[in-house]
Amino acid sequence: MTKLSRSFVRERELIIVDAEVVGPANTTNARLVLDTGAAATTLVPELIEDLGYTRRDSFKKAKVHTAVGEEKGYWLRVAEFSVLGVTTPNFAVTVFPVGHQNIDGLVGMNFLRHFNFEVRPAERRILVELIKR
C-alpha cells in the first residue's frame, strides 16, 4: 500500500495545503483549505480564469449559502487536480469566491474520499494512504 507524507501550513487555525491545477492555458499552484466539512472542492473564479477557462466551460449552475446570503456559482471540470500527492483527471469543482486574499479555495470531500488520510497537527503533516481499487 502506497503511503505519502505532505506538510501543511496552519494559518488562523486553518489547514492550508498546496494544490496543482491544470487548465487549457497553463498550470497553477493554489493555496487551499483542507475542509472535511465541505462536500465539494471549491476554487475561486480568478484562478479558474487564469487557467484559461470561462463560465461557458461550466456544466451546471451551483448555489451556496454563506453568512452573507445566497451566492450563485457554477460547476466545472478542470483537466487535472492534484493535492497531497494525489492526482485526479477531469475533476469536478465548484467555482465561488471565498473572500480571502491568501486562500484560493477549499479541498472538499469529493476529493478527499478517494483515499485515507491522517492529519497530524503538532507535526504539521498529513499522512496519505492510497487505496487500490
Partner: protein
C-alpha cells in the same frame, strides 16, 4: 515575435519569499520557477516575480498570453488578510449528489 520567446517585462531574479514580501508589500505577485520549502508544501522558498498589482488579475496580466513561455505559475498575496473566510455551504440536490459521488 514568437510567443514562446517573449518574456514578462519585469521578470526578476529568483527571490526568497521574505525578499518578495519586502519588495512587493501587501499586493498580489505572480511567480514562476517556484521552489517550495519541500515537495508539496504551500510554503514558497524562492520564485521569480513576473507580475504584481493590487488584484490577482493585475498580477497575472503580464503573462496571461505567455502560456508557452510560462506554463506554470502561482499567484500569491504578500500581506496578511484579516477578512474572515467565506465558507460556502453547497445546496445539494440529487444531480449535485451524483457529481459529488462521481
Amino acid at each position: 515575435m514568437d510567443a514562446a520567446k517573449q518574456v514578462a517585462p519585469n521578470e526578476t531574479e529568483p527571490l526568497s519569499w521574505a525578499e518578495i514580501c519586502a519588495r512587493y508589500p501587501d499586493q498580489y505577485v505572480c511567480l514562476v520557477d517556484v521552489e517550495a520549502v519541500e515537495l508539496g508544501s504551500p510554503e514558497i522558498k524562492t520564485g521569480r516575480v513576473v507580475g504584481c498589482g493590487p488584484t490577482r488579475r493585475a498580477a497575472f496580466d503580464p503573462i496571461r498570453d505567455l502560456g508557452a513561455k510560462y506554463p506554470r505559475h502561482s499567484v500569491r498575496f504578500t500581506g496578511v488578510c484579516t477578512e474572515p473566510l467565506i465558507r460556502p455551504s453547497l445546496v445539494i440536490d440529487d444531480e449535485t449528489l451524483e457529481i459529488l459521488r462521481s
